[in-house]
Symmetry: C2
Subunit: 136 residues, 2 copies
Amino acid sequence: MSTLKYSRQREAIKTFLKNRTDHPTADTVYTCLREAYPNISLGTVYRNLSLLEQLGEISRISTGDSAEHYDGNMDPHQHFICSHCHKVYDVRIPEIHSLLGKAVENVPGKIEAFHANFYGVCHECQKEPITLEHNP
Amino acid sequence: MSTLKYSRQREAIKTFLKNRTDHPTADTVYTCLREAYPNISLGTVYRNLSLLEQLGEISRISTGDSAEHYDGNMDPHQHFICSHCHKVYDVRIPEIHSLLGKAVENVPGKIEAFHANFYGVCHECQKEPITLEHNP
DNA sequence: TTAAATATTGATAACTATTACTGTTTTGGA
DNA sequence: TCCAAAACAGTAATAGTTATCAATATTTAA
């Protein structure tokens, strides 16, 4: 097993995620960090996002959108994913965690994580005027 | 809006999914259906999976694995995803649905779907002997 | 029953998110 | 300061999915 060494880039990725309340994709992390680290590599971003996830410092949200999203907030919470603008909102239903004890019996393995996603159209997108799908 | 026309392929994809208890990927659907329909196209499979999902006849499971999985069972239930073999198991915790009423208030939009995923290593994989990661 | 209209298909090219590779740089302990 | 290992930047390769398009199948109405 390889020992972990410090890296400025990894630290930046981690603090970047911890300071965001939205749930950026790898590409967003990359684009934003390039301002402070102009020659950070996209591969480095992906490599460290995976690593940080394995270490349990961040979590990966599979939204069904084409790209994965990342969340620096490890407090137990849920997500609402807008199927129109693809934004990921935080949701808090504390009661849901009391069920996890019951889940243990009904599940064919050892639970390491629990993700609960709500899907729908967010209020912002509902406000928007109706647009034609195909403009001539 | 275009009106839907019957298609033998779409019907086959739908009944295939309804008769499975596992949660195949698009590629698995494709490979299996090729036995009965030797020149069905992978594009056709993808196109109809998306369509059937929009119609609410099947649902798409984003497991965090590289490929999406599809589920023909629309009864409310949850999933356990093995992070080792990537199998998707059905889980039933009926109590979880009584919470959805409460969720409505805490969610920034209109809920159209709810997915709850447990992640961990399944009993099958826990049984397995430890294998070297790299065989020479 | 036939014909026109259009949705769907198969085949393939294009796209895009992610991973793998490689030579160079950085880190941390001796 | 020196060395081994980890991490990096840059880039190529992979894989899942979507788009394109000419040919085919389905539906409606004459």
